[in-house]
Symmetry: none
């Protein structure tokens, strides 16, 4: 969004009322999500935490659910940007795959809110799988698939590998390993989990 770019150059020191309510609202939800689940957070609470008028939630995000999607979309964009950047220097399908997987654990570990939204909150919503946000979420899935295909082409992975199936196993594995840490509020060690998952998967993937 060009809005972001503008804001960087805006005069921020002089006036305190500069951060627009939209940002404050999104930020407020993020903070509140650390403590309770989305359904038990009220719009009044969000507005109060954001020092914004309740109606602005509806102006900016359509409705309460839209706000959650908005927050998720932000997270997804950020993390996918970071992955793409980090992936730049990495050569070889295995290495790239490990980087991607590691990134998932790393992100989920460092940003529990992001993790909770993706793995728990959003699944309740009917419309989610038709939403724009879901399309964003699929980018990640696409990255994994692409790397798998690369690996098959380069000979790093089995020629007869069913890449889509393999992708599902990998994504399922990530969820599998992340969830307990998320719910019971324990560490989700990225290196350990990434190694574990890679080891499991590679023994079935590599030729």
């Amino acid at each position: 969004m060009p809005k972001n770019a503008q804001d960087i150059f805006k005069k921020q020191p002089p006036k305190r009322s500069n951060p627009p309510a939209k940002k404050r609202i999104a930020a407020a939800l993020k903070i509140l999500l650390e403590e309770k689940d989305f359904n038990s957070i009220t719009t009044a609470e969000i507005a109060k935490a954001a020092r914004a008028n309740e109606a602005l939630i509806y102006r900016y995000f359509g409705d309460k659910r839209g706000l959650l999607h908005g927050v998720l979309a932000e997270y997804l964009e950020e993390s996918q940007d970071r992955i793409r950047k980090d992936l730049k220097g990495v050569k070889g399908a295995k290495n790239r795959l490990r980087k991607i997987v590691w990134h998932a654990f790393y992100t989920y570990n460092g940003n529990r809110t992001h993790a909770k939204i993706v793995l728990i909150e959003v699944r309740n919503f009917n419309g989610y799988y038709k939403s724009d946000t879901y399309q964003l979420a699929r980018n990640y899935s696409k990255m994994v698939l692409d790397v798998l295909r690369e690996g098959v082409e380069s000979g790093e992975f089995r020629q007869d590998l069913d890449t889509k199936l393999a992708r599902n196993v990998i994504l399922g594995g990530i969820e599998h390993l992340t969830l307990p840490g998320l719910i019971f509020d324990r560490e989700i060690p990225p290196d350990e989990y990434a190694d574990f998952l890679m080891e499991m998967v590679l023994s079935g993937i590599t030729p």
Copy 2:
């Protein structure tokens, strides 16, 4: 409208011999929990499903949360009874431990509602860890601890084993393995998971 259904029960002579409303209410909640989470179930819904008056929930269980605890307590008693019975003929700490662990997976797999309450719903409540129900839940934890101590005494397990820590690892492992199956509604194979967990744990426990 289900008014008709109610009337059937209403017009009965003041003789008490039918299944009391208390049981019907608990049963109703169990059924409803199969489909939605506790917070989205309303007391009106419960009462209707139980063909009971809403106020009876409060007479019998104090409040909505009390009802959940009541249901959980029932489940816990049942399953702990079953474990104790099943454990009768089993000799040896390892065997007994495996039985206990297997039972957990078996119960969670067969009774998702039980699993959900224990692993998800109940954790939201502040008072839970001071409740009677929590004491019941600790019995299970106690069983594991006792078996571990037995094993240490009998020499089946390492003499220097920190039994409390080991218990936590085991209970954590059970949760760990159960949760994804629960959330994503997949199978929780008791034998496979019990074997897996025992193998992992034993290599660290046995002398």
Copy 3:
């Protein structure tokens, strides 16, 4: 001293047995409808006027619209009962038709709220034409049709009369004549209007 008559109508704080809130709510809406249109009446206003809790509107009538339908249904039943009773002694299709038409004007004139609901408010609602209340409203239409058919059989009306069309003309005429009086709050003289409409219609109907 015996309790004075006033107590019957006044609110009786110590003991209940008041007319139940459901009735008070319906009555309150009726009164409010005399002064403003349905959309500008708030549920809070209704509840206050009924000295009842706002939530009871939803318990008893489902929603605000349901309340309007409830009130209308009451009116329809009352007035149709009265027509049927009044029609008992009347012989001859013409006479019966006049009685029915006269009744419409008489009812609309005496009960502006009834008239407003039927002729104005209810038409905005999408579901109306599929509602039970609409079926009730059709009874009236059915009465007119039946009388027209009687008249055709008895020879009072033309043998080749399209009774359905004639019914529509008559009902349209009633609305046509009623509306201005309704909107501009003028008299809707039943005799005069009934005569006028009958004369217009009969000259096209009689053989």
Copy 4:
């Protein structure tokens, strides 16, 4: 749906002589009034349809109601100009009266929005009868009165005619005949209705 309204004002070429926002706002309301009643139209909707900022409604028209009055005033001026023009060549009180009456039906039939505002929307507002717009609306009433007086003077109408009363009867008749067509969205045939009304009125007026 109001989407249509938006499209009407689609991206216009960057001509500088654009109709200013004030006109676009008034035009937008006119279009929206064809589909829903004034109360269900939101200022946001109006602004969007007009591709104007919501606040401009307040700059140009004071408030939402002021906008309605503005639109009505426009209509009234247009139609009264037309009447005056059409009346130029017409001789004789009867003929002039018929022309005026005919014009009312003609205008109402061709411009439902105009009709709705005059006959329905505006009557809810308390202040209306003290507003400038109401004074405009009285011009029409004045025209009728003037023609009646002319007729009395010229001997075309009874010498003892109560012209004010007669005016009311005529205006009432126009409303009487217009409303049903308006509400039930049927034709309002100007010739037929004008003839009918004139005939009714004249037989009581002519000496």
